[in-house]
């Protein structure tokens, strides 16, 4: 096994989606790891060209130009991502909404959109007969789920390249780990990642051993109050910070945002319905709660 000093050579980073992705691997040759990282980062770049709302050629850019009664064909990636987003929106009672901005300025209900599987393709349609949101149409922003989705798709590439031990993260806000970390003492060890941020809650673990799952964090610690409550268009007040772990990085990514908005009772109810969702939410300086604790191997 490589020494940890050698490990830096199996660590690759890449700018995309407005953040820095990083891939660490263990037990691979340097050349091979380098090629793997290229395949992974190419995939992330490809998804960025589909997802970017700043690029009018991207699929999200195209959807954002639609008016009621119009539709556009999209690829399976955008379709899957939106489908998951809409499902999570429904399950969180709109605490998570990739389309909230379309109603933001005038505080109207966001413009509705429909996902349809048509013959040999996928379609996004804005139904007729509704008043379009304040910006004139729809205003999708995959910022709260796209990076997680990109991690999920990257894991597929790692599997294809038969990489068994890796940690991949998107700007540290969402991470996924597989296999054992470098210098693991036991075969079933996970990659230790920090958790809990600046908060001093006694029950909160400081370390999460990540393996076969994703972990995503959201909080007011960085960038100020950046999560907006789509129900009120005001800054989220549900929690000071939230961490969510789930086998899918896209789900973890979206839920960590939703849990910032949702009240603790709502999160509790949600986690009782979805037994695969582990979560830590920070209520205030001293109080926090953990749901489905048995799913995670954490350390104080």
């Amino acid at each position: 096994m490589k020494k940890s000093s050698d490990q830096s050579r199996l660590r690759f980073s890449h700018q995309a989606m407005g953040t820095t992705f990083e891939l660490m691997m263990a037990g691979e040759k340097e050349d091979y790891a380098q090629q793997v990282s290229r395949a992974v980062f190419d995939q992330i770049d490809r998804l960025e060209t589909l997802f970017s709302r700043f690029n009018p050629c991207s699929e999200i850019g195209q959807i954002n130009k639609l008016f009621p009664g119009e539709s556009v064909r999209v690829g399976i990636e955008v379709f899957e991502c939106l489908q998951l987003a809409q499902y999570i929106r429904a399950q969180t009672k709109a605490a998570f909404d990739v389309n909230y901005a379309s109603g933001k300025v005038s505080r109207q209900t966001p413009t509705a959109f429909i996902l349809e599987q048509v013959r040999e393709g996928f379609l996004v349609r804005i139904p007729e007969g509704q008043k379009a949101g304040s910006l004139g149409g729809i205003e999708l922003d995959l910022g709260g789920i796209g990076k997680g989705y990109a991690l999920d798709k990257s894991i597929e590439i790692l599997v294809e390249w038969e990489v068994k031990r890796a940690l991949l993260h998107a700007g540290t806000s969402t991470a996924y780990a597989m296999g054992a970390p470098p210098e693991a003492k036991q075969v079933d060890e996970g990659w230790p990642v920090g958790i809990g941020g600046v908060w001093k809650c006694a029950q909160a673990p400081r370390k999460y051993n990540l393996r076969g799952r994703a972990l995503s964090g959201s909080g007011t610690e960085v960038k100020g109050e950046h999560v907006i409550n789509p129900r009120s268009f005001l800054p989220a007040k549900g929690h000071r910070a939230a961490w969510v772990s789930h086998p899918s990085a896209a789900v973890a990514d979206a839920l960590s945002t939703a849990f910032m908005v949702m009240k603790t009772k709502e999160v509790e109810e949600f986690c009782s319905r979805f037994s695969e969702v582990w979560s830590l939410v920070i209520l205030d300086e001293k109080r926090c709660k953990i749901f489905n604790p048995n799913l995670a191997q954490t350390e104080p």
Binding site: Q34, E80, L84, Y87, Q117, W161
Partner: protein, 457 residues
């Protein structure tokens, strides 16, 4: 350890169920195509082109083949029927991806088998490495198919010539994949503004570049290593050659052909004439174990009816400074355009040029930062500002779809509606003549000239 799954297990939902419930039956006519005039349709404008289904095969499902497949999947009426690729990785990727969209394709290793077995094809897309284009394209044309063949048409002019001849002989359509030729932004800028409205005046200088950051060679997932016999059967000495064919002389023409040909192709479109001479310097100065020049600087001369024009081009593979774009300069203005609008999407007017405001009124240009101007309403001649912004007049058109889609749409519309191809074999051939000659010029280290008949087949 919990296994990864698509669904949020514990809940009642699975992704597949959700798909089923949201899928509405019987739809399939919503179109976001392109009008036949060449203008892009805005997304959402639905147009029933009554395109009958076209059955399409893809030969070469690597990176570019997949991009073309993705675009085809956004064009209603296109049915993907077969995929040919010698590499299991590409076969699997493409067939699985297509299956998700409901296209069940037959997969082949050998294009000849594909052609003998698939009997209801209308067209083939050829996206293999350059050196295979001629053989495969000719076979498809001979089998009665229309062909969309990726650039570079071929790595040898005699092979490229055979493609033009076969297209003529069979009467089938052959579109070469210089996709800027169908890009509505390029069509508007060049056909409308430069050629029709002549906003640049006399164009006598061109500058273009494609600078790309340093890159390692491509690798491959271990489990998809092809054995030596199979590699040899298809002409590749090693997996490294197979994956990095663009850098080796047997298969391709190196970066100047790979990247440069897209942009050098546009020079003749704007000037309306093929070049008369070329001089170039370049070398294998950075990468070891690669055969082609990793940097090239070229100057072409054109004898236009209005006089000499010169075009300077560079391709760099160790810096991405400036990225890729093309600039056309005339005595009345300049146009900077790029396939990525951030790099070029505007015209610049010379101070003495006729006013462009009427173009703005007609919707042919946008005026972003109006330069100093007389204000009629107030009794002053100028609004004096700290610095007058150099006027950048943005193009008024967005391409709201992937870059290759309009070129494929042009090809399919040509098949169905008989409209002209935007890059027929003859045009692709002219570009191949101009571009492949750069490598000769680098080697010769002197000025080389073209005879007009060299561009003809």
């Amino acid at each position: 350890m919990k296994s990864r799954s698509d669904n949020m297990s514990g809940g009642k939902w699975s992704r597949r169920d959700f798909l089923r419930s949201s899928a509405s039956a019987g739809l399939g006519i919503a179109l976001t195509g392109r009008t036949l005039s060449g203008a892009a349709m805005l997304p959402g404008q639905e147009e029933d082109q009554n395109l009958p289904d076209l059955n399409v095969a893809v030969i070469g499902a690597g990176q570019q083949g997949r991009i073309l497949i993705e675009s085809c999947l956004r064009i209603p009426g296109i049915r993907m029927k077969a995929v040919c690729d010698i590499w299991a990785y590409s076969q699997r990727y493409a067939s699985r991806y297509l299956k998700k969209y409901g296209h069940e394709v037959n997969v082949y290793e050998d294009y000849r088998e594909l052609l003998s077995k698939e009997k209801d094809l209308d067209a083939a897309i050829v996206a293999t490495p350059d050196w295979m284009h001629a053989t495969q394209t000719n076979a498809c044309l001979e089998a009665g198919l229309h062909v969309y063949c990726e650039k570079e048409m071929s790595n040898s002019l005699s092979k490229a010539r055979s493609m033009v001849q076969t297209a003529r002989k069979t009467g089938k359509l052959l579109q070469i994949g210089h996709q800027r030729r169908s890009n509505p932004r390029y069509l508007h800028a060049i056909d409308r503004l430069v050629l029709d409205k002549k906003i640049l005046g006399r164009v006598s200088q061109i500058y273009a570049q494609w600078n790309r950051a340093k890159m390692d060679m491509y690798g491959w997932p271990k489990q998809y290593t092809m054995d030596q016999n199979k590699l040899a059967k298809y002409g590749y000495a090693s997996m490294t050659h197979f994956r990095n064919w663009r850098w080796f002389k047997k298969f391709a023409g190196g970066p100047i052909v790979d990247l440069g040909s897209h942009q050098i192709d546009i020079f003749s479109w704007v000037l309306g004439i093929t070049p008369s001479t070329v001089v170039a310097l370049g070398g294998k100065d950075y990468y070891k174990n690669r055969e082609w020049y990793d940097n090239v600087m070229v100057i072409y001369e054109f004898n236009t009816p209005e006089g000499k024009a010169r075009a300077m081009y560079q391709v760099q593979t160790t810096t991405k400074n400036g990225g890729f774009y093309e600039t056309f300069m005339g005595d009345m203005g300049a146009l900077q355009i790029s396939e990525v609008p951030q790099r070029g999407d505007w015209a610049m007017r010379e101070a003495h040029a006729p006013e462009w405001d009427s173009l703005v009124k007609e919707g042919l240009l946008k005026s972003e930062k109006p330069p100093l101007q007389k204000l009629d309403t107030q009794n002053i001649f100028l609004d004096v500002r700290v610095t007058a912004e150099a006027g950048r007049w943005p193009l008024p058109i967005d391409l709201a779809k992937p870059a290759h889609q309009p070129h494929l749409e042009n090809f399919f519309n040509a098949i169905v509606h008989g409209i002209p191809l935007n890059c027929p074999a003859e045009v692709g051939y002219e570009t191949a003549v101009a571009v492949l000659r750069v490598n000769d010029a680098v080697e010769a280290r002197r000025l080389l000239s073209f005879r007009p008949e060299q561009f003809e087949v």
